[in-house]
């Protein structure tokens, strides 16, 4: 089944065409990396998939359902989960409170006003399991704004995974992380069940080529090429995109 399909998606901001005729299909369980130089439109592409931006033209299908005009939260409830390039956490709350928010988000208790949250044992239990599973147990009562950058990055991923998504979008999950932390993130993503489809933006080539089955190269808002990592490594156009073409100089 096609998890995600983009059909000629364009997005422009005023006169700037950020995305142009993007067509893309992902199958269940696929791991795909989107690479490309700065300003290629990677994050814009993510935002059009998750609904932060509405595409200027074209259509987006999730699980073969047209979601082009759906608001963010409806898409999220269909099974999309995302992390953000600039970390987006509940900075004034503790680690466990952050995780509880993500866990309760699909537990149908959210509109309850008449009962304290602490009485929902399964929600609390799930959140504690997650926090413990990622090695945050000792830090569970720490205010998020006091955590290190790396920890915030990891918590960002925990929140995205807490929702048991079917499609996970990771926007530079390893940027700013120390080597050991990168290792943690990569192995956690590799350990994910193949029921979860993963689309990630990554600048670290080793990470991208290690995690992905397919790599899509984006440049100036257009797809340059896509294929398995081995092929991308050899592709001369990819080198051009990253390194520029040799200009004949006469002098």
């Amino acid at each position: 089944m096609k998890i995600l399909a983009l059909d000629n998606v364009c997005k422009s901001f005023g006169g700037l065409q950020a995305l142009c005729d993007i067509s893309l299909e992902m199958k269940t369980g696929e791991r795909r990396a989107i690479i490309g130089p700065n300003g290629a439109g990677k994050t814009t592409l993510f935002h059009t998939i998750t609904g932060i931006y509405a595409p200027t033209s074209g259509a987006i299908y999730l699980f073969e359902e047209n979601i082009t005009r759906l608001p963010i939260h409806r898409r999220a409830n269909l099974g999309i989960s995302q992390t953000f390039q600039l970390i987006n956490l509940f900075r004034g709350l503790t680690v466990i409170e952050n995780t509880i928010l993500a866990v309760q988000s699909f537990n149908a208790v959210n509109y309850t006003l008449y009962r304290p949250l602490s009485s929902y044992k399964p929600v609390i239990h799930d959140a504690e399991q997650l926090v413990a599973g990622w090695g945050f147990w000792e830090k569970r009562k720490a205010i998020v704004s006091s955590l290190s950058y790396g920890d915030q990055r990891l918590l960002d991923i925990i929140l995205a995974l807490a929702r048991k998504p079917r499609l996970l979008l990771l926007d530079e999950p390893t940027s700013g992380l120390a080597l050991a932390e990168i290792h943690t993130v990569v192995s956690k993503i590799n350990d994910l069940s193949r029921e979860i489809t993963v689309l990630l933006i990554e600048h670290n080539m080793d990470v991208a080529l290690n995690l992905a089955d397919t790599v899509t190269v984006l440049h100036m808002g257009q797809i340059v090429t896509e294929g398995p990592p081995a092929m991308i490594r050899q592709d001369s156009r990819v080198k051009e995109v990253y390194l520029g073409t040799r200009r004949e100089t006469k002098c």
Binding site: H73, G92, Q104, Y111, L113, P116
Partner: protein, 313 residues
């Protein structure tokens, strides 16, 4: 444990206090509790949603007018009037929320003010309904046939207010600790992430705002029976700003803070106005000092120096 001991101590204190103080102070205490409900409901918007509002008196004021008009001109049945007052507050909150919640921060501040001032204008100009600037006077306190006492008595009315104060406090206490309340604090911290987590943030904010308005209506109901009088000032900026100051003074983002702020302001206002008519000057001075020296209000001071606790919100 210590927290509950304190709550029970305050409760017992409130129950027995009227036996030991003069009628004047019993009345003052009732007024303080009414404003405490108002300030706590305002803090649901200001502190918990982080949406500074300058139009909260619209809700309490409309409730007061609804009771005043209905019980004088139509039918004086207590429970009917009371529900009508709360209902009107809810309706106005639902209408205001539709527009106001599209904005944030300073814009929210201004639009809530503008909308409340519209009601103020109506209260002044629609004389046939509201009696204009004169206001509606001699609104009788309700007669409750199932009670052996008359609410006209100061300490009986105090217990009447205390009853609603406790109910409203319990409602708000549970609200802020419910899953819904947790969602509200999530939206306050990062709305975009909440949407990405699948929350319909606008709907949550809207419902929360309406409930806060309804609870302000309870305060308005009690106030109109307390004063026996309602005038355009009750929907105007002065009342809203006073509530705002109570929240700031007590400690925003908590429930006990605004209640403390309300008691302090009501007492100060009466004490200072006893020896000068320029009491607003002193209230203003207190406001300036609080904002500069203790942004977390009296509760922040208590936590810092007495409980040695870090304030999280």
């Amino acid at each position: 444990m210590r927290k509950w001991a304190a709550v029970i101590a305050i409760f017992l204190g409130l129950v027995f206090l009227p036996q030991f103080i003069s009628t004047y102070y019993v009345n003052l205490l009732a007024l303080a509790l009414i404003y405490a409900i108002f300030a706590m409901s305002l803090d649901l918007v200001f502190g918990y949603m982080d949406m500074p509002t300058l139009g909260h008196a619209a809700f309490s004021g409309v409730a007061a007018y609804a009771i005043g008009i209905f019980s004088k001109d139509v039918l004086a049945v207590f429970w009917l009037n009371f529900l009508l007052g709360i209902g009107m507050a809810c309706v106005v909150a639902a209408l205001f929320g539709l527009l106001a919640l599209r904005t944030r921060e300073a814009y929210f501040f201004m639009i809530t003010l503008a909308m409340a001032q519209m009601l103020w204008g109506i209260a002044i100009k629609w004389r046939s309904l509201t009696r204009g600037e004169d206001g509606i006077s001699s609104i009788p306190r309700p007669y409750l046939s199932f009670l052996p006492w008359s609410l006209g008595d100061a300490s009986i009315y105090f217990y009447f207010v205390l009853f609603f104060f406790i109910i409203a406090s319990i409602i708000m206490y549970i609200m802020v600790r419910s899953p819904f309340g947790h969602v509200i604090s999530g939206i306050r911290e990062c709305e975009q992430r909440m949407r990405a987590l699948g929350f319909n943030t606008k709907l949550y904010n809207y419902i929360w705002f309406i409930i806060a308005g309804c609870l302000a209506g309870v305060a308005g109901n009690l106030l109109v029976y307390y004063n026996g009088f309602v005038s355009p000032a009750d929907v105007g900026i002065t009342t809203s700003a006073e509530g705002f100051l109570m929240v700031l003074l007590g400690g925003p983002g908590t429930l006990i803070g605004p209640a403390i702020g309300a008691v302090v302001i009501v007492l100060l206002k009466n004490i200072i106005s006893g020896w000068t008519t320029r009491w607003l000057l002193f209230i203003g001075l207190i406001y300036v000092l609080v904002v500069i020296f203790t942004p977390n209000g009296i509760l922040g001071l208590v936590n810092k120096f007495i409980l040695k606790k870090r304030v999280t919100t």
